[in-house]
C-alpha cells in the first residue's frame, strides 16, 4: 500500500466529514449512535437546582472541574432519580473517590484517583 501518502489529504477530508461537521454536516451519513447513552432533555427542569449548584461552583472555582465533582455527581444522581438517566453505580462513571458534602459541610475526598 505504498500509495497511501498520496491519499492522505483526501483521507483527512473524508474523515473530517465523517467526524461530523467539516463540510456542512451529516448529509447522507447516518450518525453514529453514542457509545453509552443519550441524556433525554430535562423539559420539566427537575434537576435545575443541582445543575445551578454545579454551574455556580464552576464559576467560583475558575472553571476547575476537580473542585466541583461532588456536585456533578449530585446532578447525575438527580437525573437517575427522575428517570432522566439510566441508573448505574457512580464508581462506574469515575466517581469512586468522590464523596458528597456531609452535614457538617466538610468535603471528604479520598485520594483514590488523584
Amino acid at each position: 500500500l505504498d500509495f497511501i501518502p498520496l491519499h492522505a489529504p483526501v483521507d483527512l477530508f473524508v474523515c473530517m466529514g465523517m467526524a461530523g461537521g467539516a463540510f456542512g454536516g451529516n448529509r447522507g451519513l447516518r450518525p453514529i449512535p453514542p457509545e453509552k447513552g443519550i441524556f433525554p432533555l430535562d423539559h420539566l427542569h427537575e434537576c435545575d437546582a443541582e445543575k445551578k449548584e454545579y454551574l455556580g461552583c464552576l464559576k467560583s472555582s475558575s472553571n476547575k472541574s476537580e473542585q466541583c465533582r461532588h456536585l456533578s455527581k449530585k446532578y447525575l444522581q438527580c437525573r437517575m432519580a427522575k428517570n432522566l438517566m439510566a441508573k448505574q453505580d457512580m464508581s462506574e462513571l469515575g466517581f469512586s473517590g468522590v464523596k458528597e458534602l456531609d452535614s457538617a459541610g466538610d468535603k471528604n475526598k479520598e485520594s483514590l484517583e488523584h
Binding site: D11, L12, F13, V14, C15, M16, G17, M18, A19, G20, G21, A22, G24, G25, N26, L29, P31, I32, P33, P34, E35, K36, G37, I38, F39, L41, D42, H43, H45, D48, K51, Y54, L55, L58, K59, S62, N63, K64, S65, E66, R69, S72, Y75, L76, M85, S91, E92, L93, G94, F95, S96, L112, E113, H114
Partner: protein, 192 residues
C-alpha cells in the same frame, strides 16, 4: 473490449459504494480527522485506570463552542465557556438551547473535538447528541454533556504542547411543525 469496459465501470461504482463503510472503519481505527475511536468502552477505561491508581498531573482547558446549521432557528450556546480538567476525570458540562420561533422544532446534534489528533483520547460518556430533540416554541433548556479524557493522553508524546481542546456541538434541524393555532400573530417561518 466492451465487456471489459463495462466490468470496469461496474467495478468503479461498486468501489464508490464500498468507500463509505471502508472509510468509516479507517477513520475510527486511526482516529484520523478527529474521529473519536471506540475499541474499549469508556466504563472499561475508567475501571482500568481506577484499579491501577493512575495519577494525572496535567491540566487541560476544554473550551466549548456551539453551532447551528443554516435554517435552524435555535439559539444554541455553551453554558460555560470552558472547564479546566485533568485526564482521567469524568467531567460534566452544559449547553443552552432555546427555540426562538413560535413553532416546535426538532433538532439533532453532532460533535467534534479539535485538535483532531487529540480526538482519540476524548471519550463521551453521555450527551444529548445523535438523537432527535424537540423544543416547544420559546422553550429554553440546558443540556448536559458528560465526558472523560483518557489518562493516556498525558503519556503520548504527540500530545506534548496540547493543553487546549475545543469541543464543538452543532445542531441540525430535523423538522419544524406547522402550527395552525390562530392565537399567535407571529407568522411561522417556512424553510425555503
Amino acid at each position: 473490449m466492451l465487456y471489459y469496459l463495462t466490468a470496469v465501470v461496474f467495478g468503479m461504482v461498486g468501489l464508490t459504494y464500498a468507500a463509505v463503510p471502508l472509510y468509516r472503519t479507517f477513520c475510527q481505527a486511526t482516529g484520523y480527522g478527529g474521529t473519536v475511536q471506540r475499541k474499549e468502552t469508556v466504563e472499561e477505561k475508567i475501571a482500568r485506570h481506577s484499579e491501577s491508581g493512575t495519577v494525572t498531573e496535567r491540566e487541560i482547558v476544554v473550551q466549548f463552542t456551539a453551532d447551528v446549521a443554516d435554517g435552524m432557528q435555535w439559539k444554541f450556546t455553551p453554558t460555560q465557556r470552558e472547564v479546566r480538567v485533568k485526564p482521567g476525570e469524568s467531567v460534566l458540562a452544559f449547553y443552552t438551547a432555546e427555540n426562538k420561533i413560535s413553532a416546535p422544532i426538532t433538532g439533532v446534534s453532532t460533535y467534534n473535538v479539535t485538535p483532531m489528533k487529540a480526538g482519540v483520547y476524548f471519550n463521551k460518556i453521555q450527551c444529548f447528541c445523535y438523537e432527535e430533540q424537540r423544543l416547544l416554541p420559546g422553550e429554553q433548556i440546558d443540556v448536559p454533556v458528560f465526558f472523560y479524557i483518557d489518562p493516556e493522553f498525558e503519556t503520548d508524546p504527540r500530545m506534548d504542547g496540547i493543553n487546549n481542546l475545543i469541543l464543538t456541538y452543532t445542531f441540525f434541524k430535523v423538522s419544524e411543525e406547522n402550527t395552525t393555532a390562530t392565537s399567535s400573530s407571529v407568522p411561522v417561518q417556512e424553510t425555503s
